[in-house]
């Protein structure tokens, strides 16, 4: 029977919060007590600041007000928490490594934080079929190390590997540097165990690669950003660890040469090409303040630097292909300089690429964008953005890097030395950048997702009305009370989209 009670909204702060669905209420003391009973490792605090690491994201843009983080130690405890919150209509924010950049894991008000950090057991590894089964709270780097012992590798790799957890990677369909070579998480997911909002444990764990029996439900949860269910276990395909790895760091003068080098790489390296990342001069200049860039043009940085990695099963074979590619790229003038890292130093070349994000973050306020564009338009948006920002006084840098092989650009506008957002700058960037991307047939969020940052653009800049309507009906079907990540992922209730 539908309750006709007036919704209890107990938001105590004077802050202008985004209004939740009128169905949800704030948790109170008795709720905290009950949640701790159901998941004894949970932490309740008097002051939300004590849960600072759970209530805030690393970019410093999002802050929640949660006073509890539930830390279930088993799937049953997760189910118990969800069952209670669903019944009591209390909002929940599932959280894994909390390394996202769109505020998807940060409470908007005082929702209950449900951390999967304790679901960190590695249940099994089948080294003949290359399938790992583990809890959602396993840190990616830990999985990589464990699986390497069995001569396999995890098909995703990102800069945040030391902190991010596999459950979060799956929930956000994380991309990373090996997307081109090993495919997306969708391509590598073998099974999942998910708890639905009403507390039902949905066991979709499997060790079968091929299984055409019914709707393939697990794919709904991959990339759903914790809005349809909470992932508790993951079964993932792990490719064999290649015995031969080469990392080259190359310099190009123009973006066109970057594209030509990419084309040549695909042609000459073929199946051993594993990663192809680029960085422009502006980001290299920032990174150079903390790391030594191994290739420079005299005292300046090159206009563009590329990191190319090959992974294969035969060292001689890969080296032959690599040398042929490098020779041709140099002879044709696409590449003006380059180095090949000996094994001990391959990691430090990757560190240069992986440090772009944290170093940029430390320099000033970041207006971060993660877009997909056809290669022909890839860098022209950067040039246009720089033009647009010329009239602004003070230092503004447009620094760019990304998985150019996937058409994925991380465009970052920074105000070095200034750490507060400047609304005028923001308005100059948005919605221009989204409109531009849409006009060129690209994506406004290539891999970072929507979270609470871009959800309101879903209808306007990403998907059709019909598509959004189907998404809403799926959400309503799985989560009728809307407890999981309220006001995120889908356009919020007070948005016109």
């Amino acid at each position: 029977m539908l309750s006709r009670c007036k919704p209890r909204t107990l938001f105590k702060s004077a802050h202008a919060y985004r209004a939740f669905s009128s169905l949800l209420r704030s948790p109170i003391t008795k709720d905290y007590a009950e949640l701790v009973r159901r998941a004894p490792a949970s932490i309740v605090v008097d002051d939300s600041k004590d849960l600072e690491k759970y209530n805030s994201d690393w970019t410093g843009q999002y802050k929640g007000n949660s006073r509890i983080v539930c830390r279930p130690q088993s799937t049953e405890e997760v189910a118990s928490i969800l069952e209670y919150c669903s019944r009591e209509k209390i909002g929940i924010v599932p959280q894994a490594g909390n390394t996202g950049v769109v505020g998807g894991s940060i409470p908007i008000n005082d929702e209950v934080i449900l951390s999967v950090e304790r679901l960190n057991e590695i249940h099994s590894f089948d080294d003949i079929n290359g399938i790992i089964q583990c809890g959602a709270g396993c840190v990616l780097q830990t999985l990589q190390a464990k699986v390497a012992n069995w001569n396999h590798l995890v098909p995703i790799d990102l800069g945040s590997k030391g902190t991010c957890m596999i459950g979060g990677n799956v929930a956000t369909n994380a991309g990373g540097q090996y997307y081109y070579r090993f495919g997306s998480i969708h391509a590598n997911i073998i099974g999942l165990e998910v708890v639905l909002p009403n507390g039902t444990i949905l066991d979709l764990m499997s060790t079968n690669r091929k299984d055409n029996t019914g709707y393939d439900l697990k794919h709904l949860f991959v990339g759903a950003e914790g809005t349809l269910g909470v992932i508790t276990k993951v079964a993932l395909n792990c490719p064999r660890l290649p015995s031969a790895r080469n990392v080259a760091f190359l310099a190009c003068n123009s973006f066109e040469s970057v594209c030509q080098t990419l084309s040549l790489a695909k042609e000459k390296l073929g199946e051993v090409l594993a990663a192809f990342e680029f960085m422009d001069k502006q980001v290299l200049d920032q990174v150079a303040s903390e790391k030594t860039i191994p290739l420079t043009d005299g005292k300046k940085n090159h206009n563009f630097c590329i990191l190319v990695e090959t992974l294969g099963s035969d060292r001689e074979h890969d080296m032959e292909k690599l040398e042929s590619f490098l020779e041709q790229a140099t002879d044709a003038g696409h590449v003006v300089d380059g180095i090949l890292a000996q094994d001990t130093r391959q990691v430090s070349i990757w560190e240069i690429r992986e440090s772009c994000n944290p170093i940029i973050k430390s320099k000033g306020y970041n207006y971060k964008y993660d877009i997909s564009l056809p290669l022909s338009e890839y860098y022209s948006i950067v040039e246009e953005m720089r033009e647009r920002l010329l009239p602004f006084k003070g230092d503004i840098v447009v620094a760019n890097w990304g998985h150019v092989i996937d058409g994925n650009l991380h465009l970052n506008v920074i105000t070095p030395g200034k750490f507060e957002v400047d609304i005028q700058i923001k308005n100059s960037i948005e919605p221009f950048i989204f409109e531009y991307v849409v006009a060129k047939g690209g994506s406004i969020s290539a891999e970072h997702g929507l979270g609470q940052c871009k959800n309101n653009y879903l209808g306007k800049y990403a998907k059709s009305k019909a598509a959004v309507a189907v998404m809403r009906s799926l959400k309503d079907s799985f989560d009728p009370n809307g407890i999981l990540n309220p006001q995120k992922f889908l356009p919020s209730s007070n948005s016109k989209n």
Partner: protein
């Protein structure tokens, strides 16, 4: 000045070695240039770039299977002018070919093939056998002065001034006159990356090939390996929830706090 640099092809430093019936498993395992040998190559190339040293050429030497040629190409891509490969399929990780034979092969190369070597640079030790013996033994056989664990090498008149790292601190050794043998330690330098133009050039540089048994050197092992086994597995650490738990464990379990 003519410099001879020893380079060894060893199991890559990042590989988790496994022990099988015949010692460490080498099949399908990633091999690389020994990190200390890489430092020695860098030291040689820097000397060559230093006009005051008047280095005429840098020759790299490696002893091992045919894949050693890759290691030599890396050394040449870093700047060695040419290379010598002494071919043997004997295992170089102490199981078959040992330091004494290696030192004697180096001696033969210096006395019979490359007669005017002024300086031999080697890594302080190889990361597979960890002996650290070839440098000192070679100096002994040649009756040349030696300085090991070099952290700094400077030209000094007709000789060298070498700072070496010891557990007690830094020791400075003056080598009055070349020729000499110097083994290189970690802090001597940071090796350069092989640049593309040099990698391409290295493909055309010369590698002289010899067979190990064509030299009059006894290649049999002087020391017998009795057993090879893995160290006992380390217990995994645990995570604690808060500082109080940490203090409790340090006090009551580890006995580290009063």
């Amino acid at each position: 000045m003519k410099i001879l640099v020893g380079v060894k092809r060893v199991v890559d430093y990042a590989v988790k070695v496994r022990v099988g019936a015949n010692g460490v498993e080498l099949k399908n395992v990633k091999m690389s240039l020994n990190p200390f040998c890489e430092i020695a190559v860098e030291a040689a190339v820097r000397l060559k770039e230093n006009k005051a040293a008047s280095v005429s050429e840098v020759v790299a030497l490696s002893i091992g299977p045919k894949q050693c040629q890759e290691t030599l190409r890396t050394a040449m891509a870093m700047g060695c002018d040419r290379a010598i490969h002494i071919h043997t399929d004997l295992r170089g990780d102490y199981m078959e070919l040992q330091s004494d034979s290696v030192a004697k092969l180096f001696q033969k190369v210096i006395e019979e093939k490359e007669k005017d070597v002024d300086l031999v640079l080697v890594g302080k030790q190889a990361i597979d056998s960890d002996c650290g013996q070839v440098g000192p033994m070679l100096a002994g056989y040649l009756n040349w002065p030696q300085a090991t664990f070099a952290a700094k090498i400077d030209l000094d008149g007709d000789g060298l001034m070498v700072e070496r790292e010891t557990d007690q601190g830094t020791e400075t050794i003056k080598i009055a006159k070349l020729p000499a043998v110097v083994s290189c330690d970690l802090r001597l330098n940071e090796p350069r990356y092989a640049t593309l133009p040099n990698i391409m050039k290295a493909k055309k540089k010369k590698i002289d090939q010899f067979q190990a048994d064509e030299f009059d050197v006894d290649l049999t092992a002087k020391n017998k390996v009795l057993e090879v086994f893995e160290p006992p597995a380390r217990k995994e650490g645990i995570t604690v929830d808060n500082v109080n738990q940490l203090i409790d464990k340090l006090k009551n379990e580890a006995g580290l706090l009063q």
